[in-house]
Chain length 146, copies 8
């Protein structure tokens, strides 16, 4: 039984690589999908495909349509969603993806540092499990295969 895991969260560092490496080390039968992690590409994808837009509002709207299309296709395929929050950035996409996953009854794990306990408390409570590290998140998934 192979499971597909959607990795929601910021795209400013390589945390997804850590998840994938750890999954390999643990020999977990997981396939990972995620949003576009090249930040510049993600911001520019609208104009890259649809052409120059008349201002940043419209550039953002064009990009977000294509980013949301991607997320909808991939999240539909996911058996599990991991949503990672860090101390920087607004991360409203992460909250949006986690809330959508929970509403769709996708089993969801939130990773967040201790410093974010309070502002994330309602979302954490709705997720299945909230942990502090990538390693703990994979421990939770590994538990399925025990």
């Amino acid at each position: 039984m192979e499971l597909t895991v959607y990795l929601a969260g910021q795209i400013h560092d390589s945390w997804r690589d850590d998840v994938k490496k750890l999954a390999e080390t643990k020999e977990l039968p997981l396939q990972f999908v995620s949003p576009q992690t090249n930040h510049e590409r993600s911001d520019n994808i609208g104009e890259a495909i649809l052409g120059k837009q008349p201002g940043s509002l419209y550039k953002d709207e064009a990009a977000s349509r294509i980013n949301n299309f991607r997320t909808q296709v991939l999240m539909e395929k996911a058996d599990i969603v991991i949503a990672l929050f860090g101390e920087s950035y607004k991360q409203w996409n992460t909250a949006m993806d986690a809330s959508q996953a929970i509403t769709l009854n996708k089993p969801t794990i939130i990773i967040r540092p201790k410093s974010l306990i309070h502002p994330l408390k309602e979302l954490s409570e709705k997720a299945n499990v909230t942990v502090e590290t990538v390693e703990q998140a994979l421990d939770v998934i590994a538990y399925i295969f025990e």
Copy 2:
């Protein structure tokens, strides 16, 4: 035809009163519901009902269970969701409520200042309408009754 509107968003100022007054002025047949807007009450409701918890993580978990219960009951009753984002605070509950509403096919309006166009672009695109002021949000709702 009376419609029920859930007002998601920060609870640090009286923007909900502005919405309600404006709705009255426009004589719109709307009933408003919302999260607990007394911030202290919202943070303490877990311990107020369940008793002293062993630390802030557990206090937050207790409060968020009851806050989420309230939101689930009231959002189920809502025909429309308005989610307001401001320049302060993390507002992950606002993003969570908006994303849940959209996933449940509740017609959703986002209010956000120009400064938040970029970080909210994916959520804005998924909402039905995004505006900048409370007045515009009510103009959108008033349009239903024209």
Copy 3:
């Protein structure tokens, strides 16, 4: 038992008034809802609320967000959908509304002239009933109350 009927279709003549008058004559306990029937208002509602847009594509996008918001709120309230097609105009909104209604299992009546039998054949077949006149559509609804 009062039923709510959504009247989808072109907004270039007063066919909805004919429906309403006939329903009154027949003393049917029906409440009617519909898209914005003032064509100019419908086309301009985006700029009216959100301000001047940078070109007609963007003006149309802004208007359609608000028109779709209105339709989603009102169709959710509808027990029955009537979709009227005439010989003029592209009427893709009518097809869109009828198909959405059918997919949502809203009982749906299509009104179309004989000349449109062929191009509407698949949509007609998916609707519950297809008739040629407003009078026939109301006969079908009146039959519920017999």
Copy 4:
């Protein structure tokens, strides 16, 4: 991860071949399904299977039942829907398929020429992405695999 794409739209030229060739060139792991693209076969399938009908209304009804059966089976299998609109023909089936796909939460791309921006504005806004060329549509899908 192979994805199945339903190609809704007119059946009067070979645009679906263009899509397939381009997908091959780009080496995208896509499987394509579509309505019957032989127009005559599509119009006659009812009588071909069920026998001579008493007039064109009944011939059309018979054909459309079988065409709708085919579409329902194949759209259920689709991960993505592309709906192409051109400048000719009424294309109500295309609008019907696109609206059904959107209502079923299938990620949907509309392709339409600039000349159709206005009459398709509400449907375009409800689709995930609207583009002008087959190439752009495949760029959007290719973005999923980046």
Copy 5:
């Protein structure tokens, strides 16, 4: 709490009147809806509204579209479905309505004589309750209000 009860079953005698009278006697807060019980009207409704059809197959098709429209509107309103089977007639509409109600999770009571135990065994097992008389069916509903 008033409940709406859909009365599915043959339309050849006045069993629905028995149900209604008994409900009145027991002072149960019930509203009853049902298919068209005038058999001739039910068979002819297609031609009555849509005009003469080219043969009995087409007359039946026209009538059944309008009868199914009526059933869909009214069953949607029902909190409870009673489906009565008797010893005569094929009663496939009754089986169709009961199976639809059960699939939609409408609480369903089947009334059937002892002689039909065997041929109705699978449908009876899927219904909530199977009884032999109208009186028993109302006893089951009355139990809700105890």
Copy 6:
């Protein structure tokens, strides 16, 4: 693309073998599932597994629980349902299965002789396609693969 077809209908002759042979002849990529076709086994399965029951009502109830379990598992796997009605037997299970399939949006073909047009008219109208022979039903399915 292989499709799974559930064959609902009477179990008194070998019509399912005809379907399977014809599908092989036509080289259609179909997998067939069906209810238990050994009539005696179907009637006795309750007592065979659960032991002697106190009378035929209870024997039938026990058998029908296991038959319904089987149908639920297999229909869930089906992409298409064929329901065949013949001139003998009450065939309420066939009507039940067809109605359940339609309510679950499974594409459904009804096969029935001309003599049953009238009593099956409402169910026929709700099915996607109604034909008279096994051959026609497979022609309809073959059309998907053209």
Copy 7:
């Protein structure tokens, strides 16, 4: 806004009266529904309506069909479910009702004594809120109306 509350749990003492009195004292706009609370009536309802059964298994089966019918009708009407567990009895119906409510996304409060923390831990975690007393449960509901 009046809310309907289903009171699941044992029927051996008058805890439901305590809930109702407290709700009155607090002037909460609540309507309460519940299973049959007369234990003997609940056990005998099958034979009372359907007649003598051939043994206790069959008597229980008959009663449970009618009890489940009642619960299905009333839980459908409920906005909120309270499920109370005490130290006696197996209370599998309580667990069944709570789990059904949670699966249907009904906001659910569990009341249980400290002694049951461990055996109820998974169900408690899935419920929205778990408390120890009737008073706390009503405090949670009262919080909605603040």
Copy 8:
């Protein structure tokens, strides 16, 4: 056609091994999934991953979040649920899993000894089939493949 079976029930003896061995003997194409069957591991998994908790309530809460996560992932994959009740233990998780499965329309078999007929009567009636032994449960599943 391979089917996946979720084995809900107590984890104090090796009944799942009996099921698996019997399935092998009968050469049934089944894949089995289940909750964590190492009782100590199941109780401690919260602290094992999340660290020491401030008391048993919090330890249980942490463990149950991870156990529920596991169940949600695996039950989603299941085509069939078997829920076994024995004479010892409270087994509220078993009732919770069975009720969730039934509410999600997963075909469900309950295994329970005669001594539990009465307290399990409502849950048994909602399940598809109730049997007394593991062997009978596999006979029911084997019947699918006849």
